[in-house]
Amino acid sequence: MNVVFYLLAAITIGGGLAAVLLKHLVHCALATTVAFAGLALLFLQLDAQFAGFAQILVYIGAVAILIVFAILLTRGSELPKDGVFSRSWFVGLVIAAGVFAVLAWAVLQSVRAVPQQTAAPAVTVRDIGNALVGRYVLPLEIVGLLLTAATIGAVIVAMHEKERPR
């Protein structure tokens, strides 16, 4: 495993850690963006061009901006008085550590069982396009419907209610 992988992994994990540990919400949001960028670079390292660029476009260009807008609209700049970690933080940490231990054990146990391909599957954008309207046309339409429903739902949920006549 080469240096680039370690560097990108360090950036991603560092961004993730900063995102959950920092006090100020906007710093957390920016650290999340760093984690997203690290992940996009990892996708590119794995020869998944389309997924990597889609990750940047969607996550950094839309989700990160959504998070930042939500922080600003809910006055997240004010720090809560009782601290940023909830009272049961230790239990949460133990659970997360347990989940990681189980996953890591599963990965390391089965590492010899999975046959390794060294050549990347040759997937061009044209193949993805053909697949999207060929084999995967039903998921495509459903995702379109889902995105429409999510857009309308988010607008309705976050809209100001009309003043009810008293």
Partner: protein, 108 residues
């Protein structure tokens, strides 16, 4: 390229598992609702990394499945983030707080 017992695939899977655990910790430990959403996004991202790592290193009866799955997952995660953040904004408007410890009553 193998170092002892870890292969490249195992390296990527371990990074994904660590990111998942960090996201889970964030969602469980922090008070603010928006940070819970950030934790959820990190978990979804680590699942995407898993998918792409298996697409790259695993056996390929179907050359496209992993990539398509990851692309759809990105789209669904974006939709879910939008709705989740809309909910957080609506709750803030209702009770003027985003701390989860304080939004623990059904009366609103």
């Amino acid at each position: 390229m193998s170092m002892g017992v870890t292969t490249p695939l195992a390296g990527y899977l371990l990074v994904a598992a660590l990111l998942f655990a960090i996201g889970l910790a964030g969602a469980l430990v922090r008070r603010n609702a928006i940070l819970v959403l950030i934790g959820i996004e990190l978990m979804l991202n680590s699942a995407n990394l898993n998918l792409i790592a298996f697409w790259r290193f695993g056996p390929h009866p179907e050359a496209l499945t992993g990539m398509m799955f990851a692309i759809f997952s990105i789209a669904v995660a974006a939709a879910e983030a939008a709705v989740g953040l809309g909910l957080v904004i609506a709750i803030h408007r209702q009770s003027n707080t985003t701390e989860l410890d304080k939004i623990n009553r059904m009366k609103g």
